[in-house]
């Protein structure tokens, strides 16, 4: 099934022959992808090509229909014994989800909690870190995204860019191995895009492993170690961003890039 004869089990993220069906709709059609530790992988592609679905399968918001997802070498969602897959308990799946931090297009902050409350929710409720220490961690994370003074604000008292940065801090507070970004700036006003991209750039520079779905092609070229172009649930082409943008091999990639560049 997999093209990877000897899968790199140390890879941060490894997808082998991943398929996803929504009923009869075949949203992911055999995805193979290896992402090394510290690598920044940018995913581009037309609307409906399955980019969000890919991220949602990696952090198990959606259950995959076929294939394997491994994070840090650990099979996600299942236990493989005697050649059969056994579904993990919900508890075990919740524990695996901590390995990935997810940032959503529409922020999805908890509206009834302050910025700091949002950030410490995971550390306190999931990791059971004492409140005082969690607050310290939370403040550090808010400082990291440049929001030192706004910890007491509720989400609806923050600008879109500030909300998205809180969402990034919330994901970082769980100390994930991999960060997944699903079009983090496409719900933002143009003048707010930069502040979020700056935070992501810093994260990339700090060595965080990341998968970033984006329509910001310029930014993708700048931060990406690797670029993946998806269409109709498959990876059509992948490579070094600068090379791929300068000389796309596939005609489908060419067609897409000619529209967005």
């Amino acid at each position: 099934m997999s093209r990877h004869a000897t899968p790199d089990r140390a890879a941060a993220v490894l997808l082998e022959g991943v398929h996803k069906f929504f009923g009869n709709y075949h949203a992911l059609r055999g995805i193979d992808l290896t992402i090394a530790k510290g690598e920044v992988c940018v995913v581009i592609g037309p609307s409906g090509s399955g980019k969000s679905t890919l991220l949602r399968c990696i952090n198990q918001i959606e259950q995959i229909s076929a294939g394997r997802v491994r994070i840090g070498g650990t099979l996600q969602g299942y236990d493989e014994r005697n050649g059969r897959l056994h579904e993990l308990s919900p508890r075990a799946i919740d524990r695996q989800r901590r390995l990935t931090g997810m940032v959503f297009q529409r922020f999805n902050l908890f509206p009834h909690m302050t910025a700091l409350g949002n950030v410490i929710e995971g550390p306190v409720q999931v990791k059971r870190i004492p409140k005082a220490e969690a607050r310290r961690i939370g403040r550090d994370q808010l400082a990291r995204v440049g929001l030192t003074d706004l910890e007491d604000r509720y989400p609806n008292q923050l600008s879109g860019g500030q909300q998205q940065r809180v969402a990034i801090a919330r994901a970082l507070a769980m100390e994930p191995e991999v960060m997944l970004f699903d079009e983090p700036t496409s719900a933002l006003d143009p003048e707010l895009v930069g502040e979020v991209l700056d935070v992501i750039k810093d994260l990339a520079a700090s060595g965080m492993t990341m998968i970033l779905v984006t329509h910001e092609i310029g930014f993708a070229r700048e931060v990406g170690d690797r670029m993946v172009f998806m269409d109709h649930g498959t990876i059509v082409e992948e490579g070094q961003p600068k090379q791929m943008l300068a000389a796309p091999k596939s005609t489908r990639t060419q067609a897409f890039l000619s529209k967005v560049l």
């Binding site: 918001i61 908890f110 929710e121 409720q125 999931v126 609806n156 919330r170």
Partner: protein
């Protein structure tokens, strides 16, 4: 923020002189107030000096022991029946959203039945329960009884009233609760899952507080409805509540109007206290959305 000459907002050391504004006047409002005051005074005068209202009798019985006991029983019925209804409604909502089709169907049938029959009929039924099922027992089906008690030891008039009021109400509350949870964006659950929260914790920490914000106002309505619904427990028959107590007195003294006023007074008093409670609940669960505390007062 009030306006005035000395009022100045500070921003990084810079003093900003705020506008000194003469507010727009609303003469129409004052005319309306004056007209209303005249009408209110007329009506109040008409009621207060009217001998048919027997205000002396009103005052005589307002704090009468049986009336006070009636207030207590009515309050107790309301609170306990409401608690029963809330617990049942939460279970119904969880069943309705579960993956088990049998639980979903049971929940649907429960709501269908208890919403579809009149409360008065249900109360009559619970009153007759002990007659219909004289013994409550656990037994081998069609075989000998293992353990059992006479039903009227368990389902007393009070219990029957609470079951009647509570189970009927649970069907309405279940629909209110379900709507409250439905209104929450799916992204909330996904964001909570993404930080590794368990299903139970997501429900308790993320979904419930947000649902309560929309659930509380209609539930306040229902509670007030329940308070007045207790007047129907006569059907069981349960004979200690406020309505029965005031009715009993008026039948004795042949003066229904002052006793109706006594009952109305107490229902209003209880409702008022409940509304104050509701205000604080709404404020608590609306934080961050409806009631945003400002740091710059």
């Amino acid at each position: 923020m009030a306006s005035g000459h000395d009022d100045a907002a500070r921003d990084e050391g810079q003093k900003v002189r705020l506008n000194d504004v003469v507010p727009h006047r609303h003469p129409g409002r004052w005319v309306a107030v004056a007209l209303l005051a005249v009408v209110v005074a007329q009506v109040a005068h008409g009621i207060i000096v009217n001998p048919n209202f027997h205000w002396d009798v009103f005052w005589q019985y307002l704090f009468a022991p049986t009336v006070m006991a009636g207030v207590g029983w009515t309050l107790m019925l309301t609170v306990i029946a409401m608690l029963v209804a809330i617990v049942c409604a939460v279970i119904l909502v969880l069943m309705r959203d579960s993956e088990n089709p049998i639980l979903r169907t049971v929940s649907w049938l429960w709501i269908w039945f208890f919403r579809g029959t009149p409360l008065y009929t249900q109360l009559l039924f619970w009153g007759l329960f002990a007659v219909l099922f004289p013994r409550l027992s656990i037994s081998v089906p069609f075989g000998p009884e293992i353990i059992g008690v006479p039903t009227d030891w368990v389902v007393t008039a009070g219990v029957a009233a609470i079951l009647g009021l509570g189970l009927c109400e649970s069907a309405y509350l279940a629909e209110i609760f379900r709507a409250g949870f439905r209104a929450i964006d799916r992204g909330q659950t996904e964001a909570a899952q993404a930080i590794g929260m368990s299903k139970g914790r997501i429900w308790w920490r993320i979904l419930l507080p947000q649902a309560l914000r929309t659930i509380i106002p209609p539930t306040g309505n229902e509670t007030i409805g329940m308070l007045k619904g207790t007047a129907l427990v006569l059907a069981v028959p349960f004979t200690l509540d406020l309505m029965f107590a005031t009715n009993a007195i008026s039948n004795r003294i042949y003066l229904p109007v002052p006793m109706l006023m006594v009952a109305a007074f107490w229902y209003l008093a209880i409702t008022s206290v409940m509304m104050i409670g509701q205000y604080y609940l709404e404020r608590h669960f609306g934080r961050g959305q409806d009631y945003v505390p400002t740091r710059h007062a």
